[in-house]
């Protein structure tokens, strides 16, 4: 799967991990399936909303309608909590397109395989509105805004892409023979 199509959710600069998943929900353990789902229902609940702003996950829902996030600089700054990419992934998001990422968040996206963190050389947050339909082509490294018709070049994911596609660090390492299958659990 090299394209992701769907509505986008637009965010600003420095979206930190407390906004992505507030600390009060860090009592949830991502490897416990029920709690993984719950983390998704709280994705971006820490984001301050202005009147009329649509929440990322609608009240009462456990998943989001938005498959792609479009953000500014330094997305995912703050904590090393892996709960952050997991919450977005568990909610149903598949990619974040941002001008830059905080280092640990980027690494956690790849390690978990939850989310494609794609860098854009141009600032896209003004060219997209929340709800715009977009097509993210990971092979061509472009994102197309279907409302405006604009096609934007993105930075290639490089070696991170196949790791995420495989389902994260361990799945990739096993698939490529870097590590053996686990002892039977």
């Amino acid at each position: 799967m090299t394209t992701i199509s769907g509505p986008v959710y637009v965010l600003g600069d420095n979206i930190d991990t407390d906004q992505i998943i507030p600390a009060e929900y860090l009592n949830l353990v991502p490897t416990i399936p029920d709690e993984y789902k719950k983390l998704g229902s709280y994705a971006l609940v820490g984001l301050p909303l202005k009147p009329g702003d649509q929440p990322f996950v609608m009240p009462g829902e456990t998943t989001t309608a938005f498959k792609i996030l479009v953000a500014g600089k330094n997305f995912g700054c703050g904590s090393s909590r892996e709960h952050a990419p997991i919450a977005l992934g568990a909610a149903g998001a598949e990619a974040v397109v941002a001008e830059s990422f905080a280092r640990i968040f980027f690494r956690n996206c790849v390690a978990t395989g939850e989310l494609y963190p794609v860098e854009t050389p141009a600032r896209l947050v003004d060219g997209f509105r929340t709800g715009d339909e977009a097509v993210l082509d990971l092979e061509a490294s472009t994102i197309t805004n279907r409302r405006t018709g604009a096609v934007h070049e993105l930075r290639p994911l490089g070696d991170a892409g196949p790791v995420i596609a495989a389902g994260g660090l361990f799945a990739y390492a096993r698939k490529t023979g870097m590590i053996a299958a686990p002892a039977e659990a």
């Binding site: 507030p22 820490g46 330094n74």
Partner: protein, 434 residues
């Protein structure tokens, strides 16, 4: 080949290579893996899923478990999470569990690691917490990682690391008596921005830095992550050796910058010209001078956390609060049980800190933990549950960081927080320091 920086030398040694350069991807051996109650259970879950239920950790002595985040709460899941750490330590025979409800309980992991001798020059420390960079004060490579990477380290003792270029920040001269390490790091973050150190090591140097106590150096390294940095690092000297040797008998190998070491940035500050600074809501790089913010009225003050809850931080706060009363609700949370004890044993003019704070009208928790620095469960001591305006010695002022999204958090040094608690508005501590 030119020389290497301290960070490069530690990573080269841990990778078994003669030399590395910034940008190299190398497999490094971990000396210590630290995890806590918030990320430990998930890490353990991945470890078991990936390595098998009968898997053993790579080195029992290398794994340090420090529950510290959600301890003094009625939240059942929080207690369940500590139980997971406890069971894992039992099953694996791990000697370094600082368990809740026992005399070994410590509190905030980054301070506990240092106090218990787990921070040693020349080593590689990974932790499932972004403020793991604190330990860079001890001349080691220390960085925060996620659960998946931590599970990998747990099983293999190794991690793939990209060697970061080093940004060096040199503070020449003597610091004014009213300027603390927190002012230095907020100054730097204000200059480089919250992403200015992304993918980079941040080194702190100069005579002003080398005159700082270990705890003040930890404050510097602690907030490297707020500048986006990968790790902080400081040279080793007698101050470092004395602190480490008092807490561990393990041998260690110090590192120094080579003569030809190259720096991505080499920025110099005249320490004598620095002033108390504050980071305004809602970003740690939103810097202003404390004296420029005197019109900001406060409803609350908070002293605690890995950044500002060490015994030095409380001594500094007490210097200002002694003989005075706070004008706003002022919450004090010791980072560790050692600090908690220190509130009784450290004195100013013969008066214990605890009594100074009680006389001043502060609300003091004797329970050491991360507490309200990151909000936490609703019943967390000092948590912001409404439109409070808080000045705090902690590390982050993102929206909702200390609880409610309606809250506003100003970050400052223990001097500035204590002075502001007395007046009820943001106050330059020069006015109150005798």
């Amino acid at each position: 080949m030119s020389g290497m920086t301290m960070t490069e030398k530690i990573l080269a040694r841990a990778a078994g290579k003669a030399a590395v350069e910034p940008g190299d991807n190398v497999w490094v051996k971990a000396d210590v893996l630290m995890t806590h109650d918030v990320c430990g259970p998930g890490t353990i879950g991945i470890f078991k899923r990936e390595f098998g239920k009968n898997a053993r950790v790579w080195d029992r002595d290398g794994v340090v478990l420090i529950p510290d985040h959600y301890i003094f709460t009625k939240d059942e899941k929080a207690h369940r999470n500590v139980d997971i750490l406890r069971e894992f330590a039992g099953e694996q025979g791990l000697p370094h569990l600082y368990d809740v409800g026992t005399p070994r309980y410590k509190g905030v992991c980054h301070i506990a690691l240092a106090e218990e001798g787990h921070t040693r020059p020349g080593e590689v420390l990974f932790g499932t917490d972004s403020h793991t960079c604190t330990a860079g004060a001890f001349n080691e490579f220390a960085t925060g990682i996620g659960n998946t990477d931590a599970a990998f380290v747990m099983g293999t003792g190794k991690l793939l690391i990209k060697v970061p270029p080093t940004m060096r920040f040199v503070f020449d001269g003597e610091l004014p008596p009213y300027v603390l390490a927190k002012d230095l790091i907020l100054q730097i973050i204000g200059d480089i921005g919250v992403d200015g150190g992304t993918y980079r090591a941040m080194e702190f140097a100069g005579d002003a830095v080398m005159r700082l106590t270990m705890e003040e150096r930890m404050t510097l390294a602690n907030m490297v992550i707020e500048g986006g940095g990968k790790n902080g690092i400081i040279a080793c000297d007698d101050t470092t050796r004395e602190y480490v040797k008092a807490r561990t008998r393990k041998p260690f190998t110090e590192v120094t910058n080579d003569a030809g070491a190259r720096f991505f940035v080499d920025r110099r500050y005249d320490a004598r010209k620095l002033e108390p600074v504050v980071a305004k809501p809602h970003s740690p790089d939103n810097r202003a001078l404390a004296r420029e913010l005197e019109t900001v009225k406060l409803t609350r003050a908070y002293i605690g956390s890995c950044t500002g809850g060490k015994i030095t931080d409380f001594v500094n706060a007490a210097r200002i609060l002694k003989g005075r009363r706070v004008a706003v609700d002022t919450f004090l949370v010791p980072s560790t049980t050692e600090v908690s004890t220190g509130l009784r044993t450290h004195t100013i003019d013969g008066r214990p800190l605890l009594d100074i704070f009680k006389d001043a009208g502060c609300q003091i928790s004797i329970d050491a933990s991360c507490a309200a620095c990151l909000g936490g469960p609703r019943d967390t001591f000092g948590r912001i549950n409404g439109p409070e305006v808080c000045i705090s010695t902690t590390n982050r002022n993102f929206p909702g960081r200390m609880g409610s999204k309606e809250g506003q958090v100003y970050l400052a040094s223990p001097y500035t927080v204590a002075a502001s608690a007395v007046t009820g508005h943001i106050t330059d501590p020069r006015e109150l320091l005798q």
